[in-house]
């Protein structure tokens, strides 16, 4: 499609790199070339063409842009194929897809026409885990970033940052095992205390899930928060470093203490980057699968909007019920529909993050 365009017209009006590249296809070899282009070419490079480069240049350019096109098609394909496979299941659904908490999706149910499923319960667990994690992780991660950029001696700042980045290298399944077998028993007294003391508040009320068992959103959120730390920290570090030193020096010259310098120059400057970092981490948390599947204890029906409930997120539900949908195409449709909702959720969150960051963030 538009690939032809670039080799023809685009090249002669090329920007930074291409302007220096002398060898372009000769007029004879390039049928797409307009007379204007040919004239321009002659003026710019009279007789300075290397015959070996021309074909190679065009092939290479097509190749590069072809792969780019492939990537576009690939990703568009994800959305389209999920949509196509989700539609039959949704049309056979007997419950409200968005606001029902049913999950009756066995192949038998589809065959009988009694399939009913809705994502409301998955939505509840997903939102509670990821926002609780975000609430815990953001201040700590920003604190770590400030410590690394402003306080740690420059000689050890890099190794210390690498230590935090190590958290990102640990596979999530290991976080899951550690969370449920090691962390959960340790924090359970605190969870019980929170529940005893603040149980009147809906977020801390008791539900169907055993608090001492640890398979709660409370445990899952803490583990997710730990997994978010390196993401938020590394992006925040980048934006903090970009704070203009002139701003800092001006604040110092006015007699500000170190904390005041940070508060008055670095924080306002990097606020949008910090928000974008948290949103990107949120996008990651929404789709976290195996750690949550291991930690959360599954339950049937609508659960409370409490941190001390279990339940399943979109991702953990899909992973947990593999056995049900691998054999049955019909019930796979229900899970694909859930996956589609997750795809849309993460897409929106990531898009917002990038808009806020405005190109400042590369994550």
């Amino acid at each position: 499609m538009s690939v032809d365009d670039t080799t023809g017209v685009g090249r002669s009006r090329a920007g930074k790199h291409s302007s220096g590249s002398a060898p372009t296809p000769t007029p004879e070899q390039d049928p797409n070339r307009t007379p204007d282009d040919r004239e321009l070419e002659e003026q710019l490079h009279p007789g300075l063409q290397s015959s070996r480069g021309q074909m190679g240049d065009r092939v290479f350019s097509y190749l590069a842009q072809g792969t780019g096109l492939l990537v576009i098609i690939l990703i568009a394909g994800i959305g389209v194929s999920l949509l196509i496979d989700a539609i039959p299941a949704i049309t056979e659904n007997n419950a409200n897809f968005l606001f029902s908490s049913d999950w009756n999706t066995s192949g038998q149910a589809f065959a009988d026409g009694t399939a009913s499923f809705g994502v409301w319960e998955l939505f509840r667990a997903t939102i509670l885990t990821s926002f609780f994690a975000l609430f815990l992780a953001t201040p700590v991660a920003i604190g770590i970033a400030v410590f690394l950029v402003e306080y740690a001696p420059s000689s050890i700042s890099r190794p210390l940052a690498a230590v935090i980045d190590l958290l990102a290298a640990v596979p999530s399944i290991i976080f899951g095992l550690w969370g449920i077998y090691v962390l959960a028993p340790v924090i359970s007294p605190f969870a019980v205390w929170l529940n005893d003391t603040f149980g009147w508040f809906f977020l801390f009320s008791s539900g169907k899930t055993s608090i001492t068992g640890g398979g709660t959103i409370f445990t899952a959120g803490i583990v997710l928060a730990i997994m978010m730390l390196p993401i938020i920290t590394s992006i925040t570090r980048e934006v903090l470093r970009q704070t203009p030193s002139g701003h800092k020096e001006a604040a110092q010259a006015l007699g500000a203490t170190k904390w005041e310098v940070i508060r008055m120059t670095a924080f306002p400057y990097s606020r949008s980057g910090m928000i974008a970092a948290s949103m990107l981490a949120l996008g990651r948390a929404l789709g976290e699968t195996i750690a949550l599947m291991i930690i959360l204890s599954a339950a049937v029906g609508q659960l409370k909007w409490s941190l001390f409930e279990g339940g399943d997120t979109f991702a953990s539900k899909i992973a947990r019920d593999v056995g049900e949908f691998v054999g049955s195409e019909a019930s796979a449709g229900a899970y694909i529909a859930a996956g589609l909702v997750l795809f849309v959720l993460t897409f929106v969150v990531n898009a917002i993050a990038r808009v806020i960051a405005g190109g400042k963030v590369n994550g």
Binding site: T67, V71, V140, V170, G255, V261, I262, I290, A315, F343
Partner: protein
């Protein structure tokens, strides 16, 4: 480096009366409190890392010191109660799946990175960059479902290790594209221009000048990407099919085991010996990932172009 105001207690200010005043106690206190808070945040971040690593190492050590662990397999061993099965089938499976994903995704990702940096006038730059951003945000379970719907259901290809690799490709492409892009942008334009001035064509400039200069950084990014995808569990859970206890090397057959799948299977078995196996496999996985990270750091350091 130190903040100017902190030195007011020193000589020059005291000797001559000026407009400078001591920093008030409350401001000093808040300054100190901030310092302590930020340091505590760092400690708070390190605690779970150390704790987790300690858990995995101490719980996984018994398995790793078993002579059979690295080269034996689990065939004929009842992993619910018996200790001493090996996991070479899972290690080999993980390596094969990662290798296939790498071989396919790296050329695509590197070419895409080249397109984004070296052909900035292409009308595809913006859409591709946007799509790579989206792909980077796609949860692994969604990428897995995509492969499942298109290949396993749509083309009835059945579950196999190759399907897992296909899903891993989707996860790997955005990581490698972004790191390639970063590294290509670091190559100074002067190098390109010098090459053009010698009459060398654009593609040869890219292949012979730009890529070699960026190579160490790109390789390092690729190794990090491999380390990242190796621990992915969602694809193996849905696409690999039931795991075999023997070594399977044909990626198109079902039954290839892998470390994340082995960990997950042992965890869901919840038998007396399960902990021995899943902690052991977890430690093995962490060691492999650590080695890959180390290789990445070494390539970045030792293969870097000499700046002189």
């Amino acid at each position: 480096m130190t903040v100017t105001v902190d030195t007011t207690s020193g000589g020059p200010v005291k000797s001559s009366p000026t407009a400078f005043r001591e920093v008030s106690a409350s401001r000093k206190f808040r300054n100190e409190a901030a310092r302590v808070t930020f340091a505590l945040c760092f400690v708070l971040g390190v605690i779970p890392l150390v704790w987790l690593l300690w858990t995995v190492i101490s719980e996984g050590a018994p398995a790793l010191t078993d002579p059979n662990w690295w080269f034996g397999n689990a065939y004929g061993v009842d992993t619910t109660t018996q200790f001493g099965a090996g996991i070479s089938q899972a290690i080999i499976g993980t390596l094969i799946q990662a290798l296939i994903a790498t071989v396919i995704s790296v050329p695509i990702a590197v070419m895409t990175g080249i397109m984004l940096v070296e052909y900035p006038t292409s009308p595809l730059v913006k859409p591709v960059s946007f799509m790579v951003d989206i792909l980077a945000g796609v949860p692994s379970i969604v990428a897995t479902l995509f492969i499942f719907t298109v290949f396993v259901i749509g083309l009835s290809m059945g579950q196999s290790a190759f399907m897992v690799s296909l899903a891993l490709i989707l996860l790997m492409i955005p990581i490698v594209v972004r790191s390639t892009e970063e590294m290509l942008k670091l190559v100074p334009d002067e190098l390109r221009e010098a090459s053009y001035a010698l009459g060398i064509s654009k593609w040869r400039t890219i292949v012979k000048v730009v890529l070699p200069t960026a190579m160490s950084g790109m390789l390092s990014g690729i190794f990090l990407a491999i380390a990242r995808i190796m621990g992915e569990t969602a694809p193996v859970l849905i696409l690999a099919g039931p795991a075999s206890s023997q070594v399977q090397t044909n990626p198109f057959d079902g039954g290839m085991n892998s470390l994340p799948l082995f960990i997950k299977d042992m965890w869901s078995a919840a038998q007396p010996a399960s902990g021995f196996y899943y902690w052991g496999a977890a430690l093995t996985l962490i060691i492999i990932i650590a080695v890959l990270n180390l290789i990445a750091a070494m390539t970045a350091k030792f293969l870097a172009p000499k700046t002189k």
